[in-house]
């Protein structure tokens, strides 16, 4: 069989990205234009501003992606695009661009769930063995996902409130770190001490769900209280305490999931998968029971290569979209329906 080259688009949030991926496994190009500097002006992503930037960047990225991969339209088997979840205005730019290329060159169109993309970034560094478990930790999501077979996903548990990346960004903001704050908190966490011992939410509950709004409030209260009584705060200790708290929860829930759903592989996906503390702890505590797949940093954040990786699965199953494909800002996987009874 000849190689399947997929041109993939990703524009769900504040990165415009276009990639060419071979057989769902090999990145031929992966151009990422990030708007972070723009949104730092506002302390977070402003949807209308994001949409405007995507229109400015889309051709530039597409041009570079084709050039770097050294491919032409006749080399391509399909065009793939993230259609959700994400910011609707942002999603629509990638979607229109992908439809235009698909129509102009009679190439089949494939709609990709952004979260499936995050998980399938794993296939770009190792081969996913099913069933696998994925810990999806990003700016908008915190989920334990059971990947039963290729392209079959079930949510075992997710967050009741904030996503873990969101918690990092909100806490970071209070500590005076510019958006997005995850990376800096991660660095500080390695330099401070866990002196605050914030509460571990839902740690002992018999389910696989998460909650991060409590810890966020605990950090706010600590900072406010310190300010009121005039004691100085060691921000690095706050960062360490916060990160330890988060990691304890993520580790405990992942352990629980692995126990109930024995798998060979644990895939760690999404922007927070870049966290070095998370990588260390998973390595220390789980490497002996499961094969760990961490995509490299560039493939953890939003990028189109991961969209191309997952699109290949849909390509093999002939799951193509029509030109009516719309953005679905709240797209998500199905929940596993016998999960509660298993626990």
């Amino acid at each position: 069989m000849s190689d399947v080259l997929i041109l993939a688009f990703e524009s769900s949030c504040d990165e415009t990205s276009v990639a060419v991926v071979k057989n769902g496994r090999e990145v031929l190009s992966n151009i990422i234009a990030t708007q972070i500097k723009s949104h730092q002006r506002f302390g977070g992503v402003v949807p209308e501003v994001a949409s405007r930037h995507h229109v400015e960047q889309i051709i530039h990225c597409t041009k570079l992606a084709l050039k770097e991969a050294q491919v032409d339209y006749q080399d391509l088997a399909a065009v793939a695009v993230t259609y959700g979840p994400g910011l609707v205005g942002s999603l629509l730019i990638g979607l229109m661009a992908a439809k235009a290329i698909s129509w102009a060159h009679d190439l089949p169109l494939i709609g990709v769930n952004h979260l499936a993309g995050h998980i399938y970034a794993a296939n770009l560094v190792a081969e996913i063995k099913y069933p696998a478990l994925a810990l999806v930790v990003s700016g908008g999501h915190t989920e334990l996902v059971y990947v039963k077979a290729a392209g079959e996903f079930e949510i075992l548990g997710d967050t009741r409130d904030d996503a873990v990346g969101e918690a990092y960004d909100k806490v970071g903001r209070m500590l005076g770190i510019s958006y997005p704050a995850g990376k800096t908190i991660d660095q500080w966490a390695h330099e401070g001490k866990d002196t605050y011992n914030f509460p571990r939410a839902m740690l002992h509950e018999n389910n696989l769900n998460f909650s991060f709004s409590g810890i966020k409030s605990a950090v706010i209260n600590t900072l406010h209280h310190a300010e009121q009584v005039g004691i100085s705060i060691n921000k690095k200790d706050v960062a360490t305490s916060f990160q330890n708290d988060i990691l304890d929860i993520l580790l405990a829930k992942t352990q629980k999931a692995l126990h109930k759903y024995p798998v060979q592989q644990l895939i760690v996906a999404g922007g927070v998968a870049a966290n070095s503390g998370l990588r260390e702890r998973l390595q220390q505590e789980l490497a002996n029971q499961v094969e760990l797949i961490f995509p490299p940093l560039r493939l953890c954040g939003d990028n189109a290569a991961m969209i191309g990786a997952y699109a290949y699965i849909k390509y093999q199953k002939n799951q193509f979209a029509s030109l009516t494909l719309n953005a679905d800002p709240s797209l998500d996987f199905e929940y596993c329906n016998n999960n509660e009874s298993l626990l």
Binding site: I31, I32, A33, T34, Q35, I36, K37, S38, R41, F42, V46, E48, V49, S51, R52, H53, V55, E56, Q57, I58, I59, H60, T62, K63, L64, Y73, G89, L92, I93, L95, M96, A97, K99, A100, I101, W103, A104, H105, D106, R298, S322, L323, T324, L325, N326, A327
Partner: protein, 241 residues
């Protein structure tokens, strides 16, 4: 010259093909919104009805704004991507000029506008020249209707207002201009689009082509108020990583 013309700047969707200025096929959809769903299928249908292959398209004309931010982004993204990938010419036209072109045989000033809420409109002023071509008299802008009405006074011309939502504005307009002609219309015809786009300049840098929003985002406006001119000079916000 084989032309594909696109306008989704307000609620209606207009797609047309033409050979030079002669319309061959068109799709007008007035059923509110979902342009994101309908746009590409409508282009496909109209182009195929015409008997064009994709590669037959020589020029793409797009209504660039002002209008609904999402609407103009959909059309502009589709048009620029198609023009670039098909190696066709790209022409951006004012959505207001297109609406004004719907009015024929009126020698005074034509005032097309879109409601921009809170008493504001996106509006411009146009007039037919001796050759029958539309000339821009007052630049498209985002303006309070009352300010617009005051501006028009200086023109000393018969006026024809065209736009949607006349129920909201009719009385205000007639109070100032009792003799004004009022046209309740917001469906840009393929002919209007093509007539304007046929004679407009070709976009030189398709890569940099963006909608004419005519309005900064709220966030940028508030941010800019607090910045020094030095900071405002920098507009280097996107990085390839």
């Amino acid at each position: 010259m084989n032309i594909l013309a696109i306008d989704t700047s307000a609620a209606p969707l207009t797609i047309a093909t033409a050979v030079d200025q002669k319309i061959i096929a068109q799709a007008l959809d007035v059923g509110m919104k979902s342009h994101s769903v309908k746009l590409m299928p409508a282009i496909d249908t109209v182009v195929k009805q015409t008997g064009f292959k994709q590669s037959d398209i020589d020029r793409i004309i797009v209504a660039q704004g002002p209008g609904s931010f999402t609407g103009i982004r959909l059309a502009v993204t589709t048009a620029k991507m198609l023009a670039w990938t098909l190696d066709a010419q790209l022409v951006g036209v004012s959505s207001l000029a297109v609406l004004a072109r719907n009015v024929r045989d009126f020698s005074g000033c034509i005032v097309p506008f879109f409601d921009a809420r809170n008493g504001n409109v996106f509006a411009g002023v146009y007039q037919e020249d001796a050759a029958g071509d539309l000339q821009n008299v007052l630049q498209d802008s985002h303006i309070a209707l009352l300010d617009l009405l005051a501006e028009l006074q200086k023109l000393h011309q018969p006026l024809c207002f065209i736009g949607q939502g006349m129920d909201v504005y009719r009385n205000q307009i007639l109070a100032t201009y009792p003799d004004a002609k009022i046209v309740e219309d917001n469906i840009p015809t393929g002919q209007s689009l093509v007539d304007i786009g046929f004679k407009s300049p070709i976009v030189e840098d398709i890569d940099q082509f963006v909608p004419e929003y005519l309005r900064q985002t709220q966030a940028e406006m508030l941010w800019a108020q607090k910045q020094s001119t030095e900071v405002l000079k920098n507009n280097n916000y996107i990085q390839d990583v």
